[in-house]
Symmetry: C2
Subunit: 345 residues, 2 copies
């Protein structure tokens, strides 16, 4: 099947997106893949598959490759003798800003290009952790209690130590710190405020079980990956996550009973339905005393969480065939016509 992998983006997770794309190139071998890179200046380039190496981008070699422009229904490459259209379903693989904040979704919708990835509204609710909390409240999904800190206003934290501090709008553990006592607080706040002017403070839960589950909707029903119990050394920092993004071997199923698996799936569906259609997402859950809490939604998980699926190629294919299409309203000029004809009388 034909698929355009869109990666890069002006984001703190730019490098992670490159690693994800390189991983999927291998994982989706046999697919007819096109690689489109979005650089830091928001220019698009068509990358020769043989140049899909990290160095291509860090050395700026992509700038010698053909530039692409968004056009109705395709990315277009302009040449001396006319334009070449690169059509087909896009896999939005831009992690973080641009890709997960709704920007790329809106662009692709505007130009009527079908894509795998969260739509604009789903992006807003998953990219900003404050809005994820609102989503949980509205849909009666349990999540960890929290407080908001703003760079503009001084406010005391009332949650007892240990706490975890997260920038509101970043993934991949960037800017995240565990704070065990007050002496560590200032440094953690400085670090997090470097990335965002709004932070979330949550209790740092110890002794909880953590489970990851990915899934998507196709043919009108939910499809789930296996449940993984991620390795934990306190939490995955950026470097470990970075390696995590290049995983391509299927992982072992977590040793949980069917009751808990169903509970995780039920929570996943509550989050997904009527919001994330068109996307393959991964939800990270905590389980405390048998209760499931949402920790985080990854609307574009690293390397699409391919390692959680038994047949990743079949999953991508079935999702591609079930994508929502951006509806374009048919404009009418009824009022203008009626006013004009009234004037003409």
């Amino acid at each position: 099947m034909r698929l355009t992998i869109l990666f890069g983006g002006a984001s703190f997770e730019h490098e992670i997106s490159i690693v994800s794309a390189i991983t999927l190139k291998e994982k989706l071998s046999g697919f007819d893949l096109t690689f489109v890179f979005c650089d830091q200046d928001h220019k698009f380039y068509l990358i020769n598959p043989s140049k899909m190496r990290a160095n291509t981008f860090s050395k700026g070699e992509h700038k010698k490759m053909p530039e692409l422009h968004l056009s109705l229904g395709s990315f277009v490459q302009k040449g001396l003798f006319g334009a070449t259209e690169h059509k087909g379903v896009v896999l939005n693989l831009i992690h973080g800003a641009d890709g997960e904040d709704g920007t790329i979704a809106a662009l692709l919708d505007f130009f009527s290009i079908d894509y795998i990835g969260p739509r604009v509204d789903a992006s807003v609710f998953s990219y900003d952790k404050r809005y994820t909390k609102w989503l949980c409240d509205a849909r009666k999904i349990k999540s960890v209690k929290y407080e908001i800190l703003s760079a503009k206003e001084q406010k005391d934290i009332t949650i007892p130590y240990p706490i975890i501090i997260k920038p509101a709008r970043l993934g991949s553990s960037i800017g995240v710190s565990i704070v065990k006592e007050e002496s560590e607080l200032d440094y953690a706040l400085d670090t997090a405020f470097e990335f965002d002017n709004a932070l979330l403070v949550e209790p740092f839960l110890t002794g909880v079980k953590e489970y990851n589950l990915a899934g998507y909707m196709a043919d009108g029903k939910m499809h789930y990956s296996i449940v993984e119990e991620p390795q934990k050394n306190e939490f995955l920092d950026f470097e470990k996550k970075y390696m995590d993004f290049s995983r391509s071997e299927q992982v072992l199923k977590a040793d949980i009973d069917i009751k808990l698996e169903n509970k995780l799936r039920a929570n996943f569906e509550k989050i997904y339905k009527n919001l994330f259609e068109g996307a393959l997402i991964r939800c990270d859950f905590f389980v405390v005393d048998g209760e499931v809490y949402l920790n985080e939604i990854n609307p574009i998980p690293g390397s699409m969480a391919n390692y959680l699926f038994e047949d990743f190629k079949a999953s991508v294919t079935s999702l591609s065939n079930s994508l929502p299409h951006a509806k374009r309203v048919k404009v009418s000029y009824d009022y203008i016509h009626s006013i004009s004809s009234a004037k003409g009388k």
Copy 2:
């Protein structure tokens, strides 16, 4: 001052946007105005100001005018002898789909064009009335109780008649019906489902006071319009709203005491702050027994609610000078470099 008015859009409110733009052409006389029309196929055209008449668009005459393309920092007009850039602050005046759903916001952010209008997240919370309810709950703003109906699932309405039925994602009263008894229900549902697959049902409140208030943030503080008590004949249907969009005379201040005015302002600020920065919005409130309820947020009100401001030109100018700029992350290749150098050892 220089301002690009962007109007049209593939939306049920396409015609209303044209009327808004024509109204602002008059209202902002003296400004250096550029008119950019987005047609139903999502093509942009530079409209000669002398052709800013409704007929230009209904007759398709805009297609003979220069086409524009989005480019870094400007709309670009390509010609035989190179390209002309149309720079400057954009006033997003596309009502409904495209303009208010976050699409245009994302496009302008992506191309680093400054604009007056709601950002992507603010758009999501005001365009979809379900998410406006979530915003109200999260920020402790009172709003009318509601139920959701979906085209996919049959569900009984438990709110007693009279009720009001609204498509979740449309403004300007399109598809809205007041249902006084069960016999009127099917027709109202059919009408509303023509426009959206999700509907809101609310009690139709009689005998409530309705007040509209517009405002924006500039120079770090809120600026408010006068409070208007809109004329009511049950509710403004599409045709009346349509005329409403061409208003350009300042209206009379509602006869309310300072205490209520402050209460309306306090509610407005709760909605606006940390979400709507960069936009001039109008909030429509109900007042019942001295309590203020949010009815609706208009993130791009008809003709920018110019008639509510004492000095509309000064308001637009001060807002233009206080716009948030889309932050573009500076990409780094630290990890790729460190991996490469480790390999080189």
